[in-house]
Amino acid sequence: TKEDEDENEAQWSDDWDDEKIDDDFSKQLRDELERDKAAQPMQV
């Protein structure tokens, strides 16, 4: 039925696997990497 078809539409996402790095978790990782870089002794 029409009702069934509508139900099945677009319930899954397969386009999530991209290069996005602007979510909260990416930000958290980036901050950590920055902190890490700052803590490294200067190379002579």
């Binding site: 319930q11 899954w12 990782l29």
Partner: protein
């Protein structure tokens, strides 16, 4: 479960076929044939009438893990409709690579998944979380070489304590299974990912490993 020698599949009612596919799907799942399991359970879910919400939810308990393993994540509207919030954080973690929220969610719903018999299958999706985690790091640092010590520090910042050996082991498994194209230099204690296409689409890998 083979169909050889019996009546053609379309001589059965839709309801019978839905039941049949539900069980072949679950069987394929327990035999680690996730791509086939996804096809069977997807059929069952689509053909199962919307009026039997309870049955559809029952199918989703297995269809969602199968879909995740082939790289398709459930949308939150679907999870809300069927009251399956247990999958919400885990799906999100597969996408973002957030290993900590994955672990927290797996701990929280541990007994739910055990009761449904899907705990070990859900644990398999951790590989995908690791893949996203590494992918995210390579995208942030914009480099193909990542020292294992850097990965270790990032894990520590998430409250996950792993030694270099363990990290190397996880990476070697990701590479061996095809989730990452690259190698681990044991001597330099560094992960080196391929310059082009270092993270092949998940759907290609899950299928390949089953052949």
């Amino acid at each position: 479960v083979e169909n050889k020698g019996s009546l053609p599949i379309n001589s059965y009612t839709i309801a019978q076929r839905v039941t049949y596919k539900f069980y072949t799907g679950r069987l394929n799942m327990s035999n680690s044939r996730f791509k086939q399991a996804e096809t069977d359970l997807d059929f069952a879910f689509k053909k199962c009438t919307v009026k039997s919400k309870k049955n559809k939810r029952q199918i989703l308990l297995y269809l969602i893990p199968a879909k995740i393993l082939v790289g398709k994540l459930p949308r939150s509207t679907l999870l809300k409709t069927y009251n399956l919030v247990q999958f919400e954080e885990i799906s999100k973690a597969v996408c973002t690579g957030d290993l900590r929220s994955f672990t927290v969610a797996m701990d929280a719903y541990h007994s739910f998944f055990i009761r449904k018999g899907t705990f070990l299958i859900m644990e398999l999706s951790k590989t995908l979380v690791y893949r996203s985690f590494i992918k995210k790091i390579t995208n942030i640092v914009k480099d193909t070489k990542i020292p294992l010590s850097k990965i270790k520090r990032l894990l520590t910042s998430l409250g996950i304590e792993m030694d270099i050996g363990e990290i190397e082991c996880v990476l070697a498994n990701l590479i061996f299974s095809g989730y990452i194209r690259g190698y681990v230099s044991h001597f330099h204690s560094t992960l080196v990912v391929a310059g082009s296409g270092p993270f092949p689409p998940i759907i290609n890998i899950t299928g390949k490993n089953e052949e």
